[in-house]
């Protein structure tokens, strides 16, 4: 059974690019682009991995992350965070909220694939 990835991102071209890369690896990619409804979408989708953009319309990625970590159903979900701001402060903030991996835009496609694979195969070190 193919792994299921939920991508929350608002830039159409980036959605298309990431979807393309992951689909070719045999992953099922579902997308969503509104911050305010992201957590509801997440509860319905039961993904194996969440890719989350920081700057989303309506609600920031940090808030979404904090809420999903507070929910027992999603507390252990691997989360990869993407940001276009790329300042160290953003990384620290994401780590404080309990992110699994952090990546700044633009990224290399191979780097994206590696990270997604390692997150899907369990926590680092267990793999």
């Amino acid at each position: 059974m193919s792994k299921h990835v939920l991508l929350i991102e608002d830039e159409p071209n980036i959605i298309e690019a990431i979807s393309f890369i992951l689909s070719r690896e045999g992953l099922a990619v579902e997308t969503h682009s509104d911050g305010t409804t992201a957590n509801e979408k997440l509860r319905g989708a039961h993904p194996d991995l969440l890719i989350l953009d920081v700057m989303l319309p309506g609600k920031s990625g940090y808030d979404i992350l904090r809420e999903l970590r507070a929910d027992p159903a999603t507390a252990a979900l691997p989360v990869l965070m993407l940001t276009a701001r790329g300042q160290s402060r953003d990384r620290e903030m994401a780590e404080r909220e309990g992110v699994s991996a952090f990546m700044s835009k633009p990224f290399a496609n191979s780097e994206m694939l590696d990270t997604v694979r390692s997150l899907l195969n369990g926590p680092p070190g267990n793999a």
């Binding site: 830039e11 319309p57 309506g58 700044s104 835009k105």
Partner: protein, 897 residues
């Protein structure tokens, strides 16, 4: 008649016993005060009772006589002071405050001190007071003698014996006053013994009069109703007073109350607590009311019972005597005796202070060898002068009594005296309420008033032909009829007393005001004037000395001689400490000299103290140069403090500016972070797509041709987006730095709008925004940078196209020419939320959250451009849709052709 002789002997014994009693009380009071337990001695009750020296033998005996002669007139004499205490309480309070802050020792000192510490004025007022008071003292001696005589029951005493009585009384009073009136040199300190003794006497006289009254009403008159009926039956019961004279007497007694030296002594000089005035303001009128309660009954019953021709001035005494009430008569005698003695004692203290401070001391200073203030024993001189003055004043009264031979109507002398001292009133009231009052004015008023009083009242009071030729009364001096002393300038039918009061006060006040208005006060006068008039604002003295040559030691020696060694050393130590304790003796600063002078003034009066310090410091009076120096110094200090203040204000301002700058920097730093973060985001987002798709194109095998094309065009679009963003950023940077060159051209607004609409109304997909315009209103010729203006319009139209959320998007462009040219762009969408309206012109703010390809720089650029063009761009709320107004100054527009 041996009975009468025995009675007289008893009376003498009673008198001596009573005198000893008063001495004992005075001693006791001094002892208690010396032990610092004088709190009750200084109670408002004692203060109020001491005021009762207003009620002299004249009022004690004379009120009944006055009632017999002119009905209720005696009430006017009580009404005047009552009105002063009740209604003019604030004047008294000001007097007391001035008296305490300036250490005033007498009426003369007050006037002198106010008008530049003028000794001339002090001497003038002193003379006036002596002339006005001497007959009054004579009157007291006479009343004591007369009352003695009443006990002799018809036996005519030899004239020599009469004189002896008066002499003994005078000597006794002088002794008492010398002992208790000059215990302390500082006239400003309370004479506890004297005050206590006169308070006791006040009780005695009230008690005596009430006792006689009760005896008369219930013992002789047959009860209250019976007595009232008898009053009604007698002609006294009828109101037969001339209204004018009545009002005049009220006024006169009110004026005298403020000016009489003895009243001033107890009211101001002996006062040690302003709040006592509050009690006195109701208690003293009450006392006067009680004093006047039985006057009419005694007069009526006296007229009924005593033989025709009895002296009504002695009814208080003769009525109980005639009824065989020896004890009551003695009590009554003691009442009259108390009234007489208390008046003489206080008047002697008050007058002796004036005479010694303003006449004897200045003379002594003038004739003693130079530097006498340093080497001579001034303290002894002052005390001696004071004591001799007391004896002199009392003896003057005695002499007056002997020479005048004792007038019949006591009350007349009283009024003459009242009118005399009242001459001080204009200078006094003017001095404490009017800063314009000048010394020249005060002197002129006093002299004129004094002359008028002498001419119209004092000299005529001795009787026609005594001191003034008889002919003057009937036909005026040298036949000048309009100068008749009791009918000046045609005031023929006026009561002589009123006539004199009217003329003396009118001339006095008139001259005072007139001369004051036309004379220029001396510098010291102006300083003192401000001190007096504004006593409640500042109770400190003026700095009237520049002490640069005086030696502290000299001042110390002099102060010791006047104040006594202990007090002087205390004062100097206190001052040295206040100055910062650089040595045992204080520096001779103006402030120190001023303090010292005020301390000395308490002992020897302001003018003398000023003169004595002047002898040592150099310069008998304050010169204009001194004052200028003081003024300079003050001005320098004020300037310096103003400069300090300015500096501290500047510091505060700088600190505030720094705080502001810091806040601004912090704000800027936050803005810069936000800006960088925004820029990063705006640049990285298209970059991400470009990189991702270019890697896909490079690394992915087997892509279909359509996919390749699609991904390549995404890369292309994103590259354009990046370029546009960079263009915008550069544009904004140029605009913000003011480096832009405006390309001013002439053109018509509608053409500019046409171009903007053509460029922005349709998107790439060909969707068009419906635009409504009124071309007629757009026919306005502009002289501005048309390309930049067009850029603004394009931005606004494009925004409407991108963000208007109506199903049929429509934009209305309306042009209104007025004071400013306004171009409104209003769409039919939902508009901008009110909380967002403030920030839409900021960089990177987007009107909505929907991604629409813009970086959020458009409106920021628009605002920069319009500002450069001299106009502004605003969001117009409440128009339904989003509405932007570009307004430009009218001078860009040239009226439509």
């Amino acid at each position: 008649m041996t009975g009468a002789r025995e009675m007289l002997n008893t009376l003498v014994a009673v008198c001596i016993a009573y005198a000893l009693f008063l001495f004992a009380i005075a001693f006791a009071a001094e002892r208690i005060a010396a032990h610092g337990q004088a709190r009750w001695l200084r109670s408002p009750a004692v203060y109020t009772l001491s005021l009762s020296i207003y009620c002299t033998a004249w009022t004690f005996y004379g009120a009944v006589g006055s009632a017999v002669r002119s009905g209720f007139e005696y009430m006017a004499i009580y009404l005047g002071p009552s009105l002063v205490l009740i209604g003019w309480w604030w004047i008294l309070r000001k007097l007391v405050r001035i008296g305490r802050s300036q250490r005033i020792t007498s009426v003369a000192d007050l006037v002198s001190s106010r008008y530049g510490k003028s000794n001339l004025l002090a001497v003038g007022v002193t003379i006036l007071a002596v002339i006005g008071t001497t007959p009054y003292i004579a009157l007291q001696l006479q009343s004591v003698t007369l009352s003695f005589e009443a006990f002799s029951a018809g036996e005519i005493l030899p004239a020599a014996e009469k004189g002896h009585t008066a002499l003994w009384v005078a000597a006794g009073l002088a002794l008492f006053t010398v002992i208790f009136g000059t215990r302390n040199l500082d006239a400003n300190e309370r004479h506890n013994g004297v005050v206590m003794a006169i308070a006791v006497e006040a009780v005695v006289k009230l008690f005596a009069l009430l006792a006689v009254g009760v005896f008369v009403v219930w013992g002789l008159g047959g009860g209250l109703t019976e007595t009232l009926a008898r009053i009604d039956a007698s002609e006294l019961g009828h109101w037969r007073i001339d209204g004018g004279r009545w009002a005049g007497v009220v006024l006169l007694s009110a004026a005298a109350f403020l000016c009489l030296p003895r009243i001033f002594q107890v009211l101001v000089v002996e006062n040690d607590n302003e709040t006592h005035l509050r009690t006195a303001s109701w208690a003293f009128p009450l006392y006067l009311g009680l004093m006047s309660l039985f006057v009419v009954p005694i007069a009526v019953i006296g007229l009924d019972l005593l033989p025709e021709g009895s002296n009504p001035d002695l009814f208080v005494l003769t009525l109980p005597l005639s009824q065989g009430q020896g004890g009551l008569a003695v009590l009554s005698f003691l009442g009259g005796f108390s009234s007489a003695t208390s008046m003489v004692i206080v008047a002697a203290i008050a007058l002796s202070t004036m005479v010694s401070n303003h006449v004897v001391m200045p003379l002594w200073l003038r004739f003693a060898e130079p530097g006498a203030t340093v080497s001579g024993d001034v303290r002894g001189v002052v005390l001696l002068a004071r004591r001799l003055s007391i004896i002199g004043v009392v003896m003057l009264g005695y002499l007056y009594y002997r020479l005048s031979g004792g007038g019949e109507a006591l009350a007349t002398i009283g009024f003459v005296s009242f009118a005399g001292v009242a001459q001080v009133l204009p200078a006094m009231l003017g001095g404490i309420f009017w800063r314009g009052a000048s010394k020249a004015g005060a002197v002129s008023g006093l002299i004129l008033g004094f002359l008028a009083w002498n001419y119209t009242l004092f000299l005529p009071s001795f009787g026609a032909g005594v001191l003034m030729p008889e002919a003057w009364f009937s036909s005026g001096p040298f036949g000048l009829e309009f100068l008749r002393p009791q009918a000046m300038f045609g005031l023929v039918d006026m009561d002589p007393l009123l006539h004199a009061f009217f003329w003396s006060m009118s001339l006095n006040t008139g001259a005072f005001i007139f001369v004051s208005l036309f004379s220029f006060p001396q510098p010291l006068e102006r300083l003192q004037g401000a001190q007096f008039v504004n006593v409640f604002e500042h109770s400190t003295g003026p700095r009237s000395w520049t002490g640069n040559v005086a030696q502290s030691e000299d001042l110390m020696i002099m102060a010791q001689r006047i104040l006594g060694a202990r007090d002087a050393q205390d004062l100097f130590e206190r001052e040295a400490e206040r100055q910062g304790g650089r040595g045992p003796l204080p520096d001779v600063t103006p402030h120190f000299l001023e303090t010292l002078e005020r301390e000395l003034a308490g002992s020897v009066g302001a003018a003398t103290a000023h003169a004595m310090v002047g002898q040592i410091v150099g310069g008998m009076s304050v010169s204009v140069e001194d004052l200028m120096a003081v003024a300079d110094e003050t001005a320098q200090m004020m300037e310096y403090s103003a400069r300090l203040e300015t500096q501290s204000q500047e510091l505060a301002r700088t600190a505030a500016q720094l705080r502001e700058a810091n806040a601004k920097l912090t704000r800027l730093s936050v803005q810069k972070d936000a800006f960088l973060s925004q820029i990063s985001h705006e640049l990285r987002t298209p970059m991400t797509s470009i990189r991702a798709f270019s890697e896909i194109l490079r690394d992915t095998t087997g892509l279909r041709a359509a996919e390749k094309t699609k991904y390549a065009s995404i890369i292309h679009d994103e590259a354009i987006r990046l370029t546009r963003l960079l263009d915008d950023l550069l544009d904004l940077s140029v605009l913000e730095n003011g480096q832009v060159n405006l390309n001013l051209r002439r053109g018509v607004l509608s053409d500019v709008l046409d171009r903007a609409v053509a460029a922005a109304a349709a998107d790439e997909a060909g969707r068009r925004l419906e635009i409504r315009r009124d071309r007629d209103a757009e026919q306005i010729v502009l002289h501005t940078d048309l390309d930049r203006l067009s850029q603004v319009f394009i931005n606004l139209i494009a925004n409407a196209r991108k963000y208007c959320d109506a199903p049929q998007p429509r934009l209305e462009i309306r042009v209104r020419a007025g004071a400013r040219l306004a171009i409104d762009f209003t769409d039919n969408g939902t508009g901008v939320a009110s909380e967002a309206q403030d920030v839409i012109f900021e960089k990177f703010s987007r009107v909505s959250d929907q991604k629409a390809g813009g970086a959020g720089l458009g409106l920021a650029i628009c605002r920069q451009i319009v500002t450069r063009l001299g106009g502004d761009i605003t969001y117009v709320p409440g128009r339904g849709g989003a509405s932007f107004r570009v307004s430009l100054p009218a001078d860009l527009a040239i009226a439509a052709q």
